[in-house]
Symmetry: C3
Subunit: 153 residues, 3 copies
Amino acid sequence: MNPEARLRELGLELPPLPPAVGNYVGAVSIGSILFVAGHGPFKDGKPQFLGKLGRDYNVEQGQQAARLVMLNMLATIKHTVGSLERIKRVAKLLCMVNSIPDFRDQPQVANGASDLLVAIFGEERGKHARSAVGMAALPFDIAVEIEGIFELS
Amino acid sequence: MNPEARLRELGLELPPLPPAVGNYVGAVSIGSILFVAGHGPFKDGKPQFLGKLGRDYNVEQGQQAARLVMLNMLATIKHTVGSLERIKRVAKLLCMVNSIPDFRDQPQVANGASDLLVAIFGEERGKHARSAVGMAALPFDIAVEIEGIFELS
Amino acid sequence: MNPEARLRELGLELPPLPPAVGNYVGAVSIGSILFVAGHGPFKDGKPQFLGKLGRDYNVEQGQQAARLVMLNMLATIKHTVGSLERIKRVAKLLCMVNSIPDFRDQPQVANGASDLLVAIFGEERGKHARSAVGMAALPFDIAVEIEGIFELS
């Protein structure tokens, strides 16, 4: 199924293109590989979910943040390459979770992004390699930042 | 020399395929580039070396953890592409060390993984680009997580 | 304009090749993609800017550190591929900022590196995807470490 139709079927829509908070662009391709910048949980141009996992947010809230991050990333990809249909395979995510030193559930938080990708693209095309790790701090104090690598058709 | 024969010569063997602790896979290739997920120091399906460098483990213990991480990563690669013989070049590692804020010896810890790769694949094929950095927290509180990029033949 | 001529025009020069502080190399290419190791702010072979953002350095000092990191990275790239002229496109940076837990201006710090790349290579060739994130600790306690992905001609 077309991933944008699938998004609508899930009751979701892509947010507006998130701002680049610095002198950079959202994604750059080399051949068929798209390298996507670190994205945050923006809504209406403003960062959401400000705080750290293990103190300000629980795992379920972290998953919601990760899901919102992924919608922002998909908005960037659509803007950059024209259509989500061009994503042949989700290859790799680096899920960076704003963590107090004893928070240990980064993988569960990252599933908020990974589950969404599998729901949209299916198992074969959507399932990816991933790291999920705990950061000391993130821009604006956002709870989650994710960067990604995608194969384009 | 064949890298699996070399492993045996070093008295090492690959552990069983480590579990994916989330909705993801161990590695995805785009063309000849293999992007490998973040791996931890698993043994018999259980995470080992739980704690932070600079407090719970010293550099030598961190190196042992990094070496165990790399054996897990090689098990994933063998499972994904069929044989370690298909690794044409180790290209890049991101070595993430669970660190208290004043631990500064991440490169020495990461050498536990890098030295093993050079021992198995030799200088030309095994020597790689690398980052070694200090994380606030990691899944299960593992001491080291490593992700990698490999060139396949 | 040739990037090395542009460097001179900016009154800058490449530092000597920075040391690899471990068993690794500065950069490895797969096809036309160059994966560059994490670099630090070295001068005359010694790490500079030792300390954390939000406590030991302010944003402007962090930008100076990021700029120095990038000059070191360009020295590595020139050494590895022969000439900066071979950089067809700066694709992606991961800017890792040594941060106390409530430092939130990693993007501004990272602009020290990104602005330099755009000044040297121009908008089309120099502007890149990027993540800017806060690390618990870095080797030698350096303020900034950056790794990168470049397209070669």
